[in-house]
């Protein structure tokens, strides 16, 4: 396996795994504590519409998908403020309609033979230097925003009503968390794929939640766990000729199961 590290595609894969792990460690913690997992699922699946638009109109993939996801996120955010009772339905619609739009647009694209499975389950070994640059820019933005407004974000996440009373702009920060989640989803698509992105945003955070005493430590622990699971998944993928994305997620899932069982045994 060490020999393969001399190949650029493998180096890119490892760098992107570390970057995505840091990004999903930070944003996944916010998604989980704000109970936005279903909402993120809706955004992740609607991203397929952005992919379809990029393929049909020949637009840059990351830019097109990012803009499409930001639009969907803003619609969901506004709905959650004004008609919270209809939010579940709207998420369901964007989930299904986004995917359908993507598939129809790809069907209509003349002569296009792309492997759509790569967008569903990721193609870690096809990550380019441009993708890494995009990840670095997003990571820098996430770290700057989250740690500059850390206490506002913590207050909104912990007790929204109380934060509002203390003068925190809760709707603004709720939307910021959603937008950062949305952009995280877009870049994670390339690494672990559309279907499995939610797993990377939740499983390491679920395990980190067992032993984290603060939101910050949860972000750090989730990041380290995510890197650890990804490296094991990549090794398994290489040695047994398996798809990289599902290998990473199955590794994470097994550890989540062990963590759950360990917790249950300790309770007794």
């Amino acid at each position: 396996m060490l020999d393969t590290l001399s190949y650029t595609f493998m180096q890119n894969a490892l760098i992107s795994v570390v970057l995505v792990s840091i990004i999903t460690g930070i944003i996944g913690s916010l998604v989980v504590v704000n109970k936005m997992v279903f909402l993120s699922g809706g955004i992740a699946h609607s991203a397929y519409g952005g992919i379809g638009l990029a393929i049909y109109f020949g637009l840059p993939m990351l830019l097109s998908t990012s803009l499409f996801c930001v639009l969907i996120t803003l619609i969901i955010a506004v709905t959650s403020f004004k008609q919270r009772e209809h939010l579940d339905i709207l998420i369901g619609i964007t989930w299904a309609a986004g995917m359908s739009l993507g598939i129809i647009l790809v069907d209509l694209s003349p002569g296009y033979q792309s492997d759509l499975m790569s967008y569903l389950f990721g193609s870690l070994l096809a990550v380019t230097s441009d993708d890494i640059t995009y990840m670095l820019v997003l990571l820098a933005a996430i770290i700057t925003i989250v740690f500059t407004f850390y206490r506002d974000i913590l207050a909104v996440s912990y007790d929204t009503e109380y934060a509002t009373l203390r003068g925190v702009k809760t709707k603004f920060f709720y939307t910021v968390i959603l937008l950062l989640s949305s952009l995280t989803i877009v870049i994670s698509i390339k690494v672990v794929g559309l279907i499995l992105v939610i797993a990377l945003l939740t499983i390491p955070i679920y395990i980190a939640g067992f032993f984290s005493k603060s939101l910050f430590s949860m972000m750090i622990n989730a990041t380290l766990l995510s890197i650890f699971f990804s490296l094991i998944g990549l090794t398994l993928s290489y040695n047994f000729d398996l798809s990289s994305g599902p290998s990473i997620i199955m590794t994470s899932s097994m550890f989540a199961l062990f963590a759950f069982l360990f917790k249950q045994i300790r309770k007794r």
Partner: protein, 252 residues
Amino acid sequence: MQLQTQTRTVIEASDLSFSYEKQKVLEEINFSVKEKEFLAIIGPNGGGKSTLLKLILGINPLKNGSIQIFGKPHTKQTQHIGYVPQNTNINTTFPISVLEVVMMGQNSLKHRVFGYKKEEKQQAYEALDKVNMRAFSSKSISDLSGGQRQRVFIARALFSNPKILLLDEPTSSIDTQGSEQVYRTLKKLNEDITIVVVSHDISVVLQYATRAFYVNKNLIDHQLDKVRSKFDGTSEHICEVEMLEMLGDCRC
């Protein structure tokens, strides 16, 4: 001079009405609360108790009537109010320490970036001292019992040294022992600040309060020494629903 300070009006509401869409919840309510009173707001579910509290806090917008805090419009006096929301709205598994929760009680987050200043921590320790929870400052909030958690939320409300403390059902989903600890803490705090508690736990809250408002769309003001003498010897034999009905029917 001392007497004047003790009888100062802290909250004054005039002709207060409130509706959720077409349903009238509060109608033409007038009352005043004096400094260092321990006021219990009781009444049936849906009677408007929490709505009244949220009007005072400014969470619900005031459409009819006026509320004044220390003689000025209530929305401009929020720095004087500490608030303890219902326990049920809180995510109890959230990864956060007791100290971090207490430091959220600042009036406005001047210092927003990651990390806490030494003086903020000191202020939080002082607030925790007032509710006897300093020893738990580094613990995770999820490791505490319901009663301990509620005392932490009281410390959060005390962080900015308010003159009035408003509490919404502070003992809901807490066992009897935890509930008594919370009320004993409030009674001690009442030596310095005004306490307003919305509660359905009538038999407990009436032991500690000096005055009670029975709220069911309208408001009936009860002086509790008279109420206590009325229930004396009978309170152990009547249920809370009957007690509530009696308070709703009579003006003591």
